[in-house]
Symmetry: C2
């Protein structure tokens, strides 16, 4: 899983390291031109090294419907057959990725769009599951940090589409949250990495439909308590498990919050901050 | 038009420079999985720095038909309206570009796929034409050589899709022959650049339907003669004009020939070589 290290071992070094923001934006923002434009303006103006990881949005589903390619879902996950892989490669790596890069260039930020096959940036393998064949879905083995560092050191922002490869000629559809987490972990030996999951909600909520129930800070103790009392929306649990795993691997900070409030998330005045110690 | 210089001025320096191959592959090869696979194997094994520029093939036209997007052609050129730009971005920058890169990775070559918006690699403007509105079609203003050099110096092959951008947020559909030529010209101050146009024919033919009528060498004198006597297939004339323009801008050599004979083209044992002196 690339370069990792315990939070303790890295905490001294990280103070001397340059800040890097790894920011995931969710599909609902991708689908909304106005929100995406606003987000990309805020993103462009951040005076830090940064990597953006985008999800897919609904365009791939729409395209598949228009092309009469049936979409099979199991437990809310898309099964990626060969035709679906073709569609998501076109939509995620082509249309969405290149338009985001063109917008950043318009905003005066130099940026480059990548998938995991570009520069062998993210090597993965086809998911192995006894019960379900997910098709061309990738689980990540390794992030190539040297290419990413070279680009970041040239003051180029990196924009990742959620596509990886297996090194044997196959592209693989890969969860964008996981890509963001693995990139953040791998780069935490080189940078003081802040990982932000931005989406349509204000952060981790006690009630998924009420933004005023935002939980501002979660540490391992309060997380155990919230889970036990079932006070967290179930859909957030994998995100939070990932967040703690990232902290364990050397990531300095994980923030979950609203994409339209990127500046405030970074300043720590809104969103949910996941920390080791209270 | 980036860094250019006369062939005379560069000839001394070029002997000291490292070789770079800029290779264009045509759409007919892209459409043929077996030929493309063979080409990419030969390409992968070339022990030189190299840049591949690919055309579009017929998939974009097929996709547009399946999605009921009418395609307007004027003088054999596709008019790129907003919906067509979306399709070509998906097909060229997504599907074709990323699958070529994944194949090169499988062959053990590290490669990265780019469009002109990535790293601001190729800046263009929307074509201005009094009589015809070509839509989102780009004419190239500038190639950013520093990013390309950084990647090449890391022993990463670069694969360009025929998409550029205008720096104002628009992607632009751009002729792949022209992209190859402008990249070759711009990099000729840094490398000893060989430009290869590879396609389905053996090179410049006296009779377009007869591969045995291959012309092995063309210099300015013989070109004038061939044109005057109408001994060249008319479709080759823009390619040849571009080839001489590239030589005038410092490109060391231009070769036109068959994609399946890449090694022989590079060894100079087949194809048409365009040179300044006879």
């Amino acid at each position: 899983m690339g370069c990792t290290g315990s939070a303790g071992r890295n905490s001294q070094n990280q103070l001397l390291m340059e800040k890097l923001y790894v920011i995931k934006i969710g599909g609902n923002i991708i689908d909304d031109e106005e929100k995406l434009g606003f987000f990309l303006k805020e993103f462009s103006s951040l005076p830090y090294k940064k990597i953006l990881v985008h999800g897919g949005g609904k365009l791939a589903t729409r395209m598949a419907a228009e092309l009469n390619i049936p979409q099979q879902m199991i437990d809310g996950r898309r099964i990626t057959d060969a035709e679906t892989l073709k569609i998501v490669t076109m939509v995620y790596a082509g249309y969405i990725n290149k338009n985001i890069v063109a917008s950043l260039q318009k905003n005066g930020r130099n940026a480059i769009g990548l998938t995991g096959t570009d520069g062998n940036a993210i090597l993965a393998h086809k998911r192995i599951n006894k019960n379900i064949d997910y098709g061309f879905v990738g689980d990540i083995d390794e992030v190539n940090t040297s290419l990413l560092k070279t680009l970041l050191d040239q003051n180029i922002d990196i924009v990742f589409a959620p596509i990886t490869h297996d090194g044997k000629g196959s592209l693989l559809n890969t969860n964008a949250d996981t890509i963001a987490q693995e990139i953040a972990r791998s780069l935490s030996s080189l940078y003081h990495v802040h990982l932000i999951y931005s989406f349509e909600k204000s952060g981790v909520l006690r009630d998924a439909n009420d933004d005023s129930t935002l939980i501002r800070k979660i540490d391992p103790d309060s997380y155990a308590d919230l889970k036990e009392k079932q006070l967290i929306f179930a859909g957030m649990i994998p995100k939070l498990d990932n967040a703690f795993a990232a902290l364990d691997s050397g990531v300095a900070q994980v923030i979950i919050g609203k994409a339209e409030q990127l500046n405030q998330l970074i300043e720590g005045i809104t969103g949910t901050t996941i920390t080791h110690a209270s």
